[in-house]
């Protein structure tokens, strides 16, 4: 079976980082050369000259064409060869594979599978991202030396917050509160409510709460690589009243680079306005929290490599991560069936 689901939109990199210049990116173990064409669209193609296999990213961008840095074979935005220095005739089959791209939520998304199936209306979108009552702050491209499924585990898992993020997103309240989850068509929601408890450090700093709060923490996972954690805090949760809460979506858009590398593109969207200083302060809190996850996931990856095939213990809080893995396997199996 394929190692990765391919017929899906993957986040490749921040839009802010793609300019009219060549850059190389690795995703699902493929190297892709990317640039922004003069008209603004993002061009992505296999980072390989079909002549001697020099990465095209080592060449030059000439107008909207890539000129290979070795012998000057030149390819246009569609990957078609338009020039072979030293011969009059361009071989009709000389071309480079291109990949569909689309931009949304500050990111360049790429389709590594069957291009016929690439439907840009299916690119992930969080409506609140565009809502003027909410505000957005972009985060980092956090490189984690761990498999993306390990990060996805972490993002279907509110239980780790009590133990990993004690200085930011968690406290000891609610350690024993049961995790709930629901499997939907292409997503898994995992959550728990911790009511009448002290606010977590993040909301202590930014929430202006006095006394105990109700906190609800949801993870929305869309297979295979999208997750946003919704952390909301207010009062009145048991009665279903959530109007006066502060709510933050911490979005994670995972780029599976290879077996042991993932880039977590994260940003946050919140139901209040913030100035640059406050956004920076909030981002610093998230950055600290996600580095805590990175430390954990990288240590686990080392042990997984050391103890390949060794069975892991499965406990109650694993119910959602197990179904997440199953969902990815089902996606990959469907692609194989459709191919044959």
């Amino acid at each position: 079976m394929n190692k990765y689901a391919l017929n899906t939109w993957y986040p490749l990199t921040w839009s802010r980082d793609i300019r009219h210049e060549l850059s190389s990116h690795r995703i699902v173990e493929q190297d892709v050369v990317v640039y922004r064409a003069a008209a603004g669209e993002v061009v992505a193609m296999e980072d390989l000259c079909p002549h001697r296999f020099l990465p095209l990213s080592m060449g030059r961008l000439k107008d909207d064409n890539i000129e290979c840095g070795y012998h000057g074979m030149t390819f246009d935005c569609s990957g078609t060869c338009v020039r072979v220095p030293g011969q009059d005739m361009v071989p009709p089959k000389a071309r480079v594979v291109t990949y569909p791209t689309h931009e949304n939520m500050g990111l360049v998304w790429i389709w590594m599978g069957d291009p016929e199936l690439a439907d840009t209306s299916k690119v992930f979108d969080l409506p609140q991202y565009h809502d003027p009552d909410w505000s957005v702050a972009e985060g980092d491209a956090l490189k984690i030396n761990a498999n993306y499924i390990s990060l996805a585990d972490n993002l279907c898992d509110p239980a780790h917050v009590n133990f990993v993020h004690l200085s930011t997103l968690g406290n000891s309240a609610g350690e024993d509160v049961k995790i709930q989850f629901e499997v939907q068509e292409d997503k898994i929601v995992t959550w728990r409510w911790i009511n009448d408890a002290p606010p977590i450090p993040l909301f202590e700093k930014f929430g202006n709460f006095s006394g105990n709060v109700d906190r609800w923490h949801y993870y929305h996972y869309y297979a295979p690589i999208i997750d946003f954690g919704s952390a909301a805090t207010g009062t009145g949760a048991p009665e279903g009243a959530r109007d006066n809460c502060i709510q933050i979506y911490a979005c994670h858009f995972m780029t599976p680079v290879d077996d042991g590398t993932t880039i977590d593109h994260w940003l946050h969207v919140k139901n209040f306005q913030a100035d640059a200083d406050m956004n920076t302060a909030l981002s610093n809190e998230f950055r600290k929290a996600f580095l805590e996850d990175k430390t954990i996931l990288e240590a686990i990856q080392e042990k997984e490599d050391q103890f390949k095939g060794r069975q892991k213990l499965k406990i109650a809080i694993d119910a959602a991560p197990i179904r997440m893995r199953k969902m990815i396997e089902t996606m990959k199996a469907a692609e194989e069936t459709n191919q044959t």
């Binding site: 072979v84 011969q87 009059d88 005739m89 361009v90 071989p91 009709p92 089959k93 000389a94």
Partner: protein, 104 residues
């Protein structure tokens, strides 16, 4: 000008009018005959325009020179009738020529 018949590996027939001075490779590429990739553009380097000349035309078309023979040594489906289409210039003397494309 010559009327040239190209037959691809699957047996499909392509009839082309090829101007004097063009090569059989150019005649194939300009008429979208499959199996003639012409990577080197006619420099006798890549052997991706490998064809077989029909028995009765072999004399008229001629034999490969040393350079072409060396390039042909690189192909794995070589036969006595093998030629590189880029090395055969067309004139009216080849009107009616039939060639078989070696690669699919």
């Amino acid at each position: 000008m010559a009327k040239v018949t190209y037959i691809d590996k699957s047996g499909n027939v392509y009839k082309a009018d090829v101007e004097d001075g063009l090569t059989l490779m150019q005649g194939a590429v300009y008429n979208d005959v499959p199996g003639i990739d012409a990577e080197c553009g006619g420099a006798c380097v890549c052997a991706t325009c490998h064809i077989y000349i029909d028995e009765e035309w072999r004399e008229k078309v001629g034999r490969p020179n040393d350079v072409e023979s060396m390039t042909l040594e690189e192909v794995d489906n070589i036969r006595p009738s093998s030629r590189l289409a880029c090395q055969i210039e067309v004139d009216s003397g080849l009107d009616g020529l039939v060639v078989h494309v070696a690669n699919g």
